[in-house]
Symmetry: C2
């Protein structure tokens, strides 16, 4: 397939013209009932209301043309079927398939990528056995007591996604089971987590695809030391998730091992064993499978050609409209659900690491904006904080609201005739409306210019299935946008230089007695920075 540059797509020129006179949401009468009910689409239990975007039918038609011209659904299907989408054509690159979708394509006899799905099934079966052994006390600590806590040691993709899902689904935990996470090379991260734990009842789940991640190996050593100091045998407490053949792929050192594959990037790995082991431990195997089912059904929903009916694709195109045509540098993801507290941090990773790119899939510098800055915190908290800028600031921030009709715990209270959950939802709708319509006022400081775009994504309840669907929705939105910008959303060369420079600086810090050799010139910026920072000894 021939990929076209974003600015060479014909729809782009037309959309640029349409952006000059885009729909103005400000004022009254801009949101008639038929607009609100008409600009709505659904998938996997989620409804997207997008009447509060600065669009009209003409813009939607042209966004459809853009999606068609760039062959977005075709590319998505190629990806799911095992095409080598992670590459830079004509240059040295990772040259890998992109098959995170395969590890949840387990509900059919005819998966799109049979080999990858068969590997996923194998790992799922291993996980099921391991969890059953824990449940039946075949696997216990030295004293024969069951394990209560799993500490996941990993960073980036091996941390943010699993952690976000854990926080989101904590309500569904098995009795007596919980999880903690250690990611940062900051020794205080591990120290703070370990200070709280009964290590004798704890399993340590070390997660690193390469088996060489500096932070993770360092924290693994810290934890091993702590286990030994507590008189515990590390081999009875450590499990591993790693790539086959990695330095960590050593069953001798671990109570159990699970595999991850290089066709699943870290930031897309929450539905593989990277998320599966800890989530399975805390929630149970069947509940984790519900997460997979949600994600899988959203993968299927993303096959639809019409953007008006394809939720992930529509969100992708609305994002491109706001970013490339209306010129908004950032996008805020604001969940009206405390359980989604860490979901924006995961999306920040997934989106910005995927689409913060500077060259096309042919290795040519891009001539258009690629991914925006993604950020967010839960509402209603944010309403008492940064929303001031959303309403009256000079930076226009498009918002993706996420909310649910029902709470997870159903421990609610009625005050002034409405429940907290109703207040939560009413606030979310109100914010979208306030951003759109604005308000005139004789006091200039109480004036709201309005015309600030948002959409509302609404589900029934944040269940494991819904969480999986939501994750799949965003993963697919991100992939669609990357396809449209003609970039490789699946590598991360931009993180390499920092590693090289950090190693170079660290080499200067190793004492000579430990084999350290100073290599840098005394006037190298690394040396000057170390000295100015007072970190040179």
């Amino acid at each position: 397939m021939e990929y076209k540059d974003f600015v060479d797509l014909q729809a782009v020129q037309r959309l640029q013209q349409l952006a000059q006179k885009s729909y103005n949401l400000a004022g009254s009468g801009t949101l008639p009932p038929e607009r609100i009910s008409g600009y709505s689409t659904s998938a996997c239990g989620f409804d997207l209301l997008y009447s509060t975007q600065r669009i009209d039918d003409q813009v939607l038609d042209e966004l459809q043309n853009l999606a068609d011209e760039a062959g977005l659904v075709k590319q998505f299907q190629a990806m799911k079927s095992g095409a080598v989408m992670n590459r830079i054509i004509g240059h040295d690159s990772e040259n890998r398939q992109v098959l995170h979708t395969a590890c949840r394509d387990i509900f059919t006899d005819n998966p799109l990528a049979p080999e990858a799905t068969s590997q996923a099934r194998e790992q799922m079966a291993r996980l099921q056995t391991f969890l059953a052994d824990l449940d039946s006390s075949v696997v216990t600590n030295d004293k024969g007591e069951p394990f209560t806590t799993m500490v996941q040691v990993g960073i980036g993709g091996s941390d943010l996604g699993p952690r976000a899902l854990y926080v989101a689904l904590q309500r569904y935990h098995l009795p007596g089971r919980s999880a903690r996470f250690i990611a940062n090379v900051d020794p205080d991260d591990a120290a703070a987590v370990l200070a709280d734990l009964d290590l004798s009842r704890t399993l340590i789940n070390v997660v690193s695809k390469s088996g060489t991640t500096l932070e993770t190996l360092t924290n693994e050593q810290l934890v091993r030391q702590a286990l030994a100091a507590a008189g515990l045998n590390p081999a009875r407490h450590m499990i591993a998730v790693t790539g086959a053949g990695s330095p960590m792929d050593d069953p001798e050192k671990y109570l159990a091992s699970f595999h991850m594959y290089d066709y699943i990037g870290g930031r897309y790995s929450a539905t593989s064993m990277v998320g599966g082991v800890t989530l399975g431990f805390v929630l149970g195997y069947d509940t984790f499978k519900e997460v997979l089912r949600g994600a899988h059904e959203m993968d299927v929903a993303a096959d639809t050609g019409s953007i008006r009916e394809n939720l992930p694709l529509l969100m992708a195109m609305l994002g491109i409209w706001n970013h490339n045509f209306l010129g908004c540098a950032t996008v805020a993801v604001l969940p009206y659900s405390q359980a989604l507290l860490r979901f924006p941090a995961h999306l920040q990773q997934c989106d910005m690491e995927s689409n913060g790119k500077q060259v096309t899939r042919y290795g040519v510098p891009v001539r258009w904006q690629t991914g925006p800055v993604v950020w967010g915190e839960p509402g209603t908290n944010g309403q008492h904080a940064f929303y001031q800028l959303l309403h009256q600031g000079t930076e226009i921030v498009p918002v993706e609201f996420i909310g649910f009709r029902n709470s997870q715990y159903e421990a609610d209270i009625k005050i002034k005739g409405t429940t907290s959950q109703q207040k939560l939802m009413a606030n979310m709708l109100a914010q979208s409306l306030a951003m759109a319509q604005g308000r005139d006022h004789e006091n200039p400081n109480k004036k709201f210019s309005g015309n600030r775009p948002s959409s509302l994504l609404i589900g029934e309840r944040l269940t494991p299935y819904a969480m999986g669907a939501l994750l799949g929705l965003y993963e697919n939105r991100i992939a669609f946008q990357g396809f449209c910008w003609n970039i490789n959303s699946f590598d991360q060369e931009g993180v390499q230089l920092g590693k090289i420079l950090a190693d170079r600086i660290l080499a200067e810090l190793v004492p000579e007695k430990d084999g350290g050799r100073k290599k840098l010139a005394p006037d190298a910026p690394e040396i000057s920075l170390l000295r100015a920072a007072g970190c040179n000894e």
Copy 2:
């Protein structure tokens, strides 16, 4: 004092010219030792290294002129001395003093704002007595057992700052003492916190200046219900922090009450009783006072006229350089300290709610950009996530790195000749360097364009004193920027419209039997949105 509009300041014109040919950090030789050591300044134990900003002496001189011309230090001193800085001249506005600095100006016999400081001292004395009563078991639960947990119920300023400080300083907690926080009107927030607690050993600290905050009152009721359900007497477990005379200022209903004053805005209230009660409970009175001492000393350091010697002012001016002259829409605050996990969320509030404004202090629409979007997560975690975009994305994101030479727990490990703390710091320096210098490469996907600005803020250790100083630094940076943009950084009119619309929507949801009356026209957008969202019943 006459305030000038930002674009009418003479230095602004000259800075616009200088921005056309700003210092290029890319390539080798751009960071000679004398630049790195020369572009460094210190205050209260923090060093700021800013050679990796796109500035030279000429730009610094002109930023100095800008600060002088706008009278920034003079305005700051007026603020500290009780001038009515929270107002819109010629329009109805809050018309209040801005005296968060007064509640830490308690280390002298001659405070700048004697009345406010005397009120602060009174509250501090009450806190000291209350904490002593807890320590000596004069105040206990019904069974005579000491309280172990404090749950702070508050939102926005009554949540984010205290929570960020609590997370940052947890290492210094008194034995057996901890805190939790409930903020969101989402009923799952309270449910998840309450599910974990031994309520019989818990104090509930309800914080609301107005005593009318919807979320907080709702959550207070939820908690009172839970206490009653557990057979506990709420009056023995509830304390309050509120404004004198507010509906919550009712000693009958609370075991103890503390006051906050309307000259301290919510987002600047962490060093008042809003933060003091919970932090004092967990850390002890003297340790909380160390936080105040740090903040106070930074308030004093901000009096210096020279931007090269005034840390908060310098950071303010560098931020304005990046935002208004180099055109960067956002700023990332990236602490290399896991303990600062929630500090960016607090800053996001403090900065964006303060400076996300559209009119000047005379009520005239601004003709320049005001506050940027502020966001961030701890490094090294972020390096495995969104840093890809920082290095190779098309959005340029200036970074404020924050790090410490020593860890809090000192539970470290040496691997390959260096400690985790050294690895942490080396990574931070390396990131700054990588962003600045970039890298040429024959493979276009491995190329880094560089010239991306950052600064490094480095302290000795994240102690209570250091945390106070860091908080004061940012509070003062934000105030300086607001003064320079000629906006009122101390009100938040932009949060009002959402509240009004939410109330209007909620009124539609109250059943008729509960006194509800439908008021909106059936084709009102509120009604259509409710229906489309499936939230209309």
